[in-house]
Amino acid sequence: MNPSGTNAFRMTRRKALKLGAAATALPLVHIRTGRAAGKLSVGFWDHWVPAGNDIMKKQVTAFAAKNQLEVQSDFITAVGQKNLLTIAAEAQAKTGHDIEAFPTWEIHNHADLLEPIDDVMQRLTGQYGAVNEVCDYLAKIKGHWLGVPTSSGTQYKGPCARISVLKDKAGLDVVEMYPAKPGHTKESDNWTWDTHLTAAEACAKAGMPFAIGLGQTSDSVDTAGALFAAYGAELVDKDGNVTIKSDKVRQVLEYAAKLVKVLPKDAVSYDDASNNRALISGQSALIWNPPSAWAVAKRDAPQVAADCWTFPGCAGPVGRFTPYLPFFWGVWSFSQNKTAAKELIEYLMQRDNVQARCAEVAGYDVPPFDSMLDFKVWEEVEPPKGTVYNYPIRPFHNAKPHIAASPAPPDIAVQIYNRGTMPTMMAKLQSGQTVDQVIAWASDELEGFTR
């Protein structure tokens, strides 16, 4: 009580107004607490090498600690295409992770729901150089990047061959053709689709066929895609016109008709594991695959692994193409923490982090920037030493990364890809159909895709 007998803390209207104004302004003041930067959830691709997930978690934890952020990392498997189901569900519900790992076509499938990420790409390309044209095709839409090409899960699918078998049965020295050191070789110029056919015939005759699938899964599609691209055989052009009735398509099918004769009889029922098993079990001289088959062989059949060599795809009349399947990290437009999401992506794509992850998975993950191809991992991995040196495309390979069905507009290409149109065309040739019948069938299919 004050001498006048009135209460010193008497609430007046003026005081109440001041207090109210202060309380309203309080949230505007940035108070940095342990959880001030908020929460972030990420749906990563579940790496088939367990250590791949561990190193990712470690890097995310370091970022979270530095930025006082709470990050939840979920590793979503591609087995049974659970990752596609998750993406589809989150797109429908418009809720879920902030960052998602988008496989090949998924950026285009969900372009309307993705946050442009040009600022991050601008900084990354400024630091490390441009990404390849496949990344451009798959993630740059109407001039805006909607996903950042990542190394995690990104792979090439060139040939992985048995050194001794190709040397003995087909007279091809693949190590001499693509040695584990920089520089172009004269022998590599001879690595064409015609050489591929001759070698496939010789190896099939020796009971060691090239295990190339003619099914509808991605390994089959990617190999067929590289073949069609090498002949310049576009089913649908970049403007969306069906261009299947061309001389180039006819030419590639005439070639394919010879190739399918020496492929395994059950090639049409191959999935993405069948070719791996054929190589690992010692029944095949060559497959088109990332080094995952070699890695499993290293564990289950070391003598096979020690005889494997990975190198770029074959050259055709138009060029040399190696199947390339990139993954992207994208931020949903409904994300509650877009700034932090972008910062995390940028952090994870820093050279040191990419290199650490790449080393942990024995070089399986390929960075999208050419400037990162000097990582030592591809030289060091063994047995045999240098087996995956030529796994990522290098400038002296004179090869281009390729995604099957490009350059068709991606909304059409995704259907050509997922319906396995190209390997199915080859499968039809194997079942005895003529080139004309195959073109007629595919033409009908393509018209449906261009609706």
Binding site: L85, D266, V268, S269, R277, D411, N418, T424, A427
Partner: protein, 316 residues
């Protein structure tokens, strides 16, 4: 009353005017129908949330364009019908479902009769053994089948090779792959038919057979004039139920062939997955998955109406 709730006779009038009036909530809670409704409510909520809502949402999706930005009515259905591949899918789904259900019903019927005629303990053992395919999770058992059909390590081919025969591309040739997918479905579904038919057989009164025997009926006549008429309802319901489930099958085809070779084993569900989820055309996938809905609903209506009619006849 010993519990102290007794009141002197006459204090409460027959109309209960003197006693405290019961609240309407209490009355509502005491009604049998209310209790029944409340007990069923969790199930109703589940069915509404997981069946009714997704079904209507799927119908809504099937009427949108690819970008899901415009209403196209039945345009997706019309488009699908014109596609050669989808015509193949319709044919295969019908072939798959009808062949599998016919064989499951036949084998189930035969097995049920064999079980029925086995003595007590033996019957229990055999019944348990024959139920195994139905008890194992379908995805797991189909994976086992897939290993047996596998291109590189087929157990069947190993046996064939040992016997001097050439390997068979089980999943690599259209008609053989169709045969394999249907076979696995029959293997999985027959125990369900067997157990349903066995239950029906056990409920046929023995007196009917005795009366038929007195009238001079043989085994075949007993089957056609006693057993089958008495089992008609259960056969109808089992076949209907199995037909719906088999038409909607996904696991077997997805695991064994993914619809290949050359689309020759695709059924509605696997094709819908490929078009809707893998190729990003969700409305077209929804239209595909809903394609059989009107036909099956129509069939269900008539089968169930027949069952109700026969039940009333028996009751009368």
């Amino acid at each position: 009353m010993a519990d102290g709730t007794s009141v002197p006779i006459g204090v409460i009038s027959p109309t209960g005017a003197v006693a405290r009036p019961r609240s309407s909530m209490k009355k509502l809670a005491q009604r049998k129908s209310t209790t029944a409704f409340l007990l069923c409510l969790p199930l109703i909520v589940l069915v509404a949330g997981f069946v009714v809502y997704p079904a209507f949402y799927a119908i809504y999706l099937s009427m949108l364009n690819k970008k899901m930005t415009a209403f196209v009515g039945l345009g997706n259905f019309a488009f699908l019908l014109k596609r050669h591949t989808f015509q193949l899918v319709i044919f295969q789904s019908c072939l798959f479902a009808i062949t599998a259900v016919v064989f499951k019903a036949l084998l189930g019927f035969i097995l049920a009769h064999l079980m029925h005629n086995l003595a007590g303990k033996n019957q229990r053992i055999w019944r348990g053994l024959l139920l195994v395919p139905w008890v194992i999770p379908l995805a797991l058992s189909t994976l086992t089948w897939w290993w047996m059909f596998d291109p590189s390590y087929s157990a069947f081919n190993w046996i064939l090779n040992r016997l001097g025969f050439a390997s068979v591309p089980w999943l690599g040739v259209g008609w053989i792959a169709r045969f394999c997918t249907i076979t696995v479905n029959i293997w999985f579904g027959t125990p369900f038919f067997m157990i349903m038919y066995l239950a029906a057989l056990k409920s046929v009164p023995e007196q009917l057979y005795e009366a038929a025997a007195i009238d001079g009926a043989g085994t075949v006549q007993k089957l056609f004039f006693v057993t089958l008429p008495m089992m008609r309802n259960i056969i109808a319901i089992t076949v209907l139920f199995s037909l719906i489930v088999t038409f909607a099958d996904f696991d077997i085809v997805r695991i064994l062939t993914s619809g290949g070779p050359q689309d020759m084993t695709h059924v509605f569900a696997t094709y819908a997955f490929q078009v809707g989820i893998q190729s990003g055309d969700i409305p077209l996938g929804a239209a595909d998955s809903l394609f059989m809905f009107p036909i099956l609903a129509f069939a269900a209506f008539f089968v169930l109406r027949g069952v109700t009619r026969r039940t009333k006849e028996i009751a009368a």
